[in-house]
Subunit: 423 residues, 2 copies
Amino acid sequence: MTLIVQKYGGTSVGSVERIEHVADKVISYRNRGHDVVVVVSAMSGETDRLLGLAKAIAPRPSPRELDVLLSTGEQVTIALLSIALDKRGYASRSYTGQQVHILTDSAHTKARIQEIGDKRIRADLEAGRIVVVAGFQGIDEHGDITTLGRGGSDTTAVALAAALKADECQIFTDVDGVYTADPRMVAQARRLERVTFEEMLEMASLGSKVLQIRSVEFAGKYNVPLRVLSTFEEGEGTLITYEEVQMEQALISGIAFSRDEAKLTILGVPDRPGVAFSLLDSVSSANIEVDMIVQNIGRDGTTDFTFTIHRNEYDRSLELVKARAQELGAREVTGDNKIVKISLVGVGMRSHAGIASKMFRALADEGINIRMISTSEIKISVVVDEKYLELGVRTLHDAFQLDRMPASIKPINAGFNSVSAHR
Amino acid sequence: MTLIVQKYGGTSVGSVERIEHVADKVISYRNRGHDVVVVVSAMSGETDRLLGLAKAIAPRPSPRELDVLLSTGEQVTIALLSIALDKRGYASRSYTGQQVHILTDSAHTKARIQEIGDKRIRADLEAGRIVVVAGFQGIDEHGDITTLGRGGSDTTAVALAAALKADECQIFTDVDGVYTADPRMVAQARRLERVTFEEMLEMASLGSKVLQIRSVEFAGKYNVPLRVLSTFEEGEGTLITYEEVQMEQALISGIAFSRDEAKLTILGVPDRPGVAFSLLDSVSSANIEVDMIVQNIGRDGTTDFTFTIHRNEYDRSLELVKARAQELGAREVTGDNKIVKISLVGVGMRSHAGIASKMFRALADEGINIRMISTSEIKISVVVDEKYLELGVRTLHDAFQLDRMPASIKPINAGFNSVSAHR
């Protein structure tokens, strides 16, 4: 007997027909003898409809009342799914965040989970019931309704899985797993049978929006095995796991990219302590997020700075930085908002040298000029001109042979096939 | 400083614009220095929409889940009203039934209130906030969401007023009070400034559907002054009060009627103990409600029975009674489904003789034949042919001069004018 927590997003429960489909899917797991706890989002469109009502009254509705309002979306879904399960002869109980005591802080519209009560759920599971829980919502210490922010249902599912010590947390979505690269860009892209939490975190932060980044952090922290699967297609999906169980790790798990980048370069900055801080502070105190930062030694006791920001912030940042650079006596400020970032991600990098040089050579062979480089322990990112995005991604996918499954890797969900309803 | 509990029904909060109008209305009372607790229903149409979703999945959804589903309707309204109040600079807090701890029994979809927590509400009122509470819903001892049945928001308002010892419970609706007769039928009908709870109960049970009968019972039981007012028009409405403060009571408060009546007569029933029970049991054990019951002495040691039922149950009742009458050896069963009931209601009847004979004479003068008579302490009902309904109501309205305010009655809300926002 295995305990699975499943999460179905707004698109998966977007209509009465889809809710019935989800009921069938849940039952297919129940029928294999698993205990199932289901977390659901609001039906797609419902959150926007409710938000529209609130904004028709006040442009900035009170966050406390917004949470009271929006939390009704998931409450509708849990009731409907439970009704669909009951109709099929499967006893079930639905619970709001308040009812299962998902205790959060009081940061309305972006609350964080602090504690989860498991008593009612355990009693229901012992009585053979399927438990349906409203995602996205909780309650604070005053008894006020809170929400976790958009995408918070993923976090609810992971937190529940951690609290219940579930064997697996399954996130059902409209893609069937995590790929070596965006399949719309690289025809040979391969679905990964597994990635590590660290890789998933890097990919999520790089724009591969399969999972909400907070839920991945949460899963990593509590060591909850997380699986991404499709609601609409059969398949094993991708398992995201904390442990590196394999002896030999694949060098590279995937290639992620981010389109909407821009960069600013400040040339000839006097090389004094506090200068770097002063330059970054000019943008970050305007709440503009800085991503990559590179500092080179310049000429004549000066230094050159480059950093990247979101393309939407380009004009404002340029203005702010120019003002500060003048105060500091820098020589020149230049910028470029037609750049993109391409990243190789893989925990195997840790133990393998030469990956960076192989990456740079592959790009150079195609005439792609690298404008910036940044590395972390499991990621190498390069900034290139926008026009080279597709070529760059495909080139790297080929160079690292990501279309082929590494010979050293055995199918990793062999030990977990019993969980899967689709063989 | 007076504490008022106000209730606004589904039509009153049927759109964003109407919710804004309700906010203005609430504030007009707050601005006169009153503490205000507002109870709201779901936006009109919302309950039906939700019910439609559930029924699209299962024809008979589980009552527990139906309550989880339907209770979201009021939750949306409380948030929107609170947002509208906040926008106008009036601090407010919204609460679900669960949050104010409206404890009910576990009879899902038709639960009864057992207890109400007043702690949070009192703290908010002391802090100068307007409190907005979801009507129609509560929570049982297990923490499961319950609903009070259609129209239950009236009951929530009255129960809250009783728990908070409010000075007045105001039910805002789409009529501007209780009338001496249906104004669509009698042009001279006059709005009553006040009626007693007993009169209101008789009128409600006779088809004057201004208030839900349970809320009137509740208000009477806990001695909560209840006022019916219009959301859309200015006015004092009608005060429903337990105490008969006036020295001299109006003889008659109003004329109520019920259209959908039918009657069955069993002639020549052997006059033995248990016969009455046996005849009634034939219909009541089929869950058909019997209203008036009249027994006359017949001829030759037999007795004649007549009773009325809802017109929709006529055919089925006739069949059931015929079968039982045959077993009992009765002579004949006849029926009529083209009858109506007209009633005079007034607590003044208690101390005044001659009202019944005045009523019968007035009807006889117009050639209206009375087919059945039934009396209670504060009501006289007659059954007449359907075609005489309008004539009968108008005749009685004239005969008892209900268009004129009794000379002995002073304007009764003189002592309570300060509560009213509309002078």
